[in-house]
């Protein structure tokens, strides 16, 4: 490895920061995948993997993908919750990897909610 210059130092810092973000910075967007037995049964693991792929592809470090316990919505699993700073959390129901791609591209990247997949409020807490 050749001798570093200050620009190299800055480059290393930037790329290291991506790896450190999870440990040292607060997320701007939290995406929670409900991982109860019912969720996993309905395909929540694939949903999780798809989300992680999308996040990686986007290169963003301000997104945290979290596993969460069963949300009591067993009829419409897999469900995910997207919480952005300052906005109401949005619950998406019956997710699969295809729908995840759409939700990610639209809601996460552009801030546009994909209403077709949003869980209707009256059924919350079934």
């Amino acid at each position: 490895m050749a001798k570093l210059t200050i620009d190299d130092l800055k480059r290393i810092k930037e790329s290291a920061r991506r790896n450190l973000a999870l440990r040292s910075e607060k997320g701007v967007i939290d995406i929670l995948v409900h991982m109860g037995t019912c969720g996993i049964e309905a395909g929540a693991r694939d949903v999780m993997k798809a989300l992680l792929d999308e996040t990686e592809k986007s290169g963003r470090t301000d997104i945290r993908v979290l596993a969460g316990p069963c949300g009591g919505m067993c009829g419409v699993e897999p469900t995910i919750v997207i919480k952005s700073d300052g906005a109401e959390p949005v619950i998406y129901q019956q997710m699969n990897p295809d729908k995840i791609q759409q939700v990610f591209a639209s809601h996460v990247q552009k801030g546009e909610i994909v209403t077709a997949f949003v869980k209707a409020p009256e059924t919350t807490g079934e």
């Binding site: 450190l20 999870l22 929670l32």
Partner: protein, 595 residues
């Protein structure tokens, strides 16, 4: 490739290694793999987390959930429940002894909330063996600034203005030391790091080296630039294998990047560092002895002047700073003197790291702002004294320091304030003692250590500490005479005044400070032949008091030698011929009925 969603920051300091973090790492890796999570969940080994008492510990990010005393058997549940299903495992949360509540988030645990992390800012965040992670946290940007944007005089001015004083014990202003060395004319100069850490019970420097070795290297490069040195040595004791291994990795990585060696960061400045392993003699922490030892000679101090700033290692101008002092430097350069001086008291700036140990619930490494009352360290952070015992005193500064009794616990962490109550700030060792500690015996323990470690070069220290030990032993064995107290005081004053180096000059401190606060204990040993704390075996009778005994039988049940006769509803009796004087019954009796 998918994104990692969970990073498990597993503490991998010496403390957690000894409670099992290495096997835990293996078990975690295997189970994560088994459950198909290897692409999403990773384990990262970090330096000392600080909360050694409850190790092995881990911090699960990004949620910030803290797990304590994790065992290999807990791993499958942890992986399934938390990492897969998102249900943190409550039984591994920290339990607050006060209200028995479980606390999931690390920063909500009282041990952490009262601390301020500056020297240990990277603790639990970076892998100390990966230089890029250090750089990711602004690492080596202080070197970049010091080499590119600052003249040596600016560096010295900043360090002086920050007010930082040496963390190795004496508290000498670091900026001033650098100024003297910078003014010494010589084409060869040296920067040394003191990682000898010889105080019994101290482990601050070891933990800093294990947690953030690059911070120390960075501090040394900046110091070298300030005085224009081109070679540095880290004097570390061989007993610190993990710290030395991490330092070696760090030095090699820094060399590879050209952050050590010739023409650092393309600025034309050359500096390199080597580790010198010391054999662990206490006196080799003293600056002139340390230098002799690096020269390959027997580690013995010499009179000063000449001071090392003029004639140090190989008679060349040299600065020696403590690990914690040097680890503080990069932040001072990056954030400025005012930022640093904003925390602390009038004469003591910044934070101080303490190794909290002894009779205290939360044994561990803590960093607090200067000015924090000792009470906060012992009760709020340290969680108080175990087994509902009473606090008796805290020994600061190890064998060179003194004890601070309960009535002075409001004393703030401040060089001058601590000296006023007869102790010293020292390098950060804080040994807490409960009511069962005999203070005469404590003084005897430290004097035994000191007379053993005295290098023998000067008579007052070599002979004087031996005589002090003999008198203390005599008192502990019940052969003390009233005039012994005067002899202790006279001899102590003489040793302090006439010893060659700091070892002898401070050696009598534990005796003098226990005499100051616990003279009645000395008198009880001498006049009544009694040890009030019931620790000095020759002064104990091994007899159960009929009136105090509650006939519970605990002593009988716990006696390993079957030497205690007891039946239900009868007073216990110790059989002298069988008794092995192990003290178990004293510790077990809840009614203080054994004498």
């Amino acid at each position: 490739m998918s994104k990692i969603r969970i990073q498990i920051m597993l503490c991998s300091g010496t403390g957690c290694h000894s409670t099992g973090s290495l096997v835990l790492r293996k078990a975690l890796d295997e189970e994560i793999e088994k459950q198909g999570l290897a692409e999403e969940v990773v384990v990262i080994e970090t330096g000392c987390n600080g909360f050694c008492a409850v190790g092995p510990v881990m911090l699960v990010q990004p949620e910030g959930i803290f797990y304590q005393k994790v065992k290999v058997d807990d791993v499958p549940e942890l992986v399934t429940e938390h990492f897969l299903k998102g249900r943190p495992v409550e039984k591994l949360f920290y339990k607050d002894p006060a209200d028995k509540k479980r606390i999931p988030i690390m920063n909500d645990i009282p041990f952490f909330t009262h601390q301020m992390f500056r020297v240990m800012r990277n603790k639990g965040i970076i892998d100390p063996e990966v230089i890029d992670e250090y750089i990711g946290r602004d690492g080596y940007f202080a070197v970049a600034k010091a080499l590119k944007e600052m003249a040596p005089e600016d560096i010295i001015e900043t360090v002086k203005d920050s007010g930082i004083r040496g963390r190795g014990g004496a508290g000498f202003p670091a900026g001033l030391k650098w100024l003297f060395a910078s003014k010494s004319e010589s084409d060869v100069k040296y920067v040394l790091c003191n990682a000898d850490e010889g105080d019994p019970g101290a482990f601050m420097d070891r933990s800093i080296l294990e947690t953030d070795p690059h911070a120390v290297l960075e501090g040394m490069i900046i110091a070298a630039r300030a005085i224009n040195a081109s070679q540095g040595y880290i004097y570390a004791r061989t007993e610190y294998p993990l710290a030395i291994s991490r330092l070696t990795i760090a030095i090699n990585a820094a060399r590879k990047y050209g952050l050590l060696g010739k023409n650092i960061l393309d600025t034309g400045f050359d500096f390199d560092i080597e580790i010198y392993e010391g054999a662990g003699a206490f006196v080799c922490g003293e600056e002139t002895a340390l230098m002799r030892s690096i020269e390959g000679k027997r580690g013995m101090p010499r009179p000063r002047p000449p001071f090392p700033a003029n004639k140090g290692l190989w008679e060349k101008p040299t600065i020696l700073n403590n690990v914690e002092t040097l680890a503080s430097i990069p932040q001072i350069i990056l954030n400025g003197a005012d930022w640093y001086a904003d925390v602390g008291t009038e004469t003591s700036k910044g934070t101080k790291v303490f190794a909290l140990t002894g009779d205290i619930n939360n044994i561990g490494l803590v960093e607090v702002p200067m000015g924090t009352p000792l009470k906060t360290i012992i009760y709020d952070i340290g969680g108080g004294i175990p087994k509902k015992k009473k606090f008796k005193a805290v020994q600061l500064g190890g064998p060179s320091g003194g004890c601070v009794p309960a009535q002075y616990l409001d004393t703030p962490v401040d060089f001058e304030e601590i000296a006023k109550v007869g102790a010293i700030m020292g390098s950060g060792g804080a040994i807490v003692m409960d009511e069962d500690t005999c203070m005469v015996d404590m003084a005897r323990f430290f004097m035994d250590f000191i007379q053993d470690e005295s290098c023998g070069k000067c008579t007052p220290c070599r002979e004087g500490t031996r005589r002090l030990l003999e008198i203390l032993e005599k008192i502990c064995e019940g052969r003390g005479e009233p005039e012994d107290i005067d002899t202790l005081e006279e001899l102590s004053a003489m040793i302090k005044e006439s010893s060659l180096c700091g070892l002898g000059q401070t050696a009598p401190n534990p005796v003098l400070s226990t005499l100051r606060y616990f003279r009645d204990e000395y008198m009880a040993h001498i006049n009544e032949k009694k040890c009030p704390a019931k620790r000095c075996i020759p002064l104990l009778e091994f007899r159960v008091d009929e009136n105090l005994c509650k006939k519970c039988g605990l002593c009988h049940k716990n006696c390993p030698a079957d030497a205690i006769i007891w039946k239900k509803k009868t007073v216990a009796v110790i059989e002298k011929d069988k008794c092995i004087e192990c003290m178990t019954c004293f510790d077990k009796c809840r009614f203080d009925a054994i004498f």
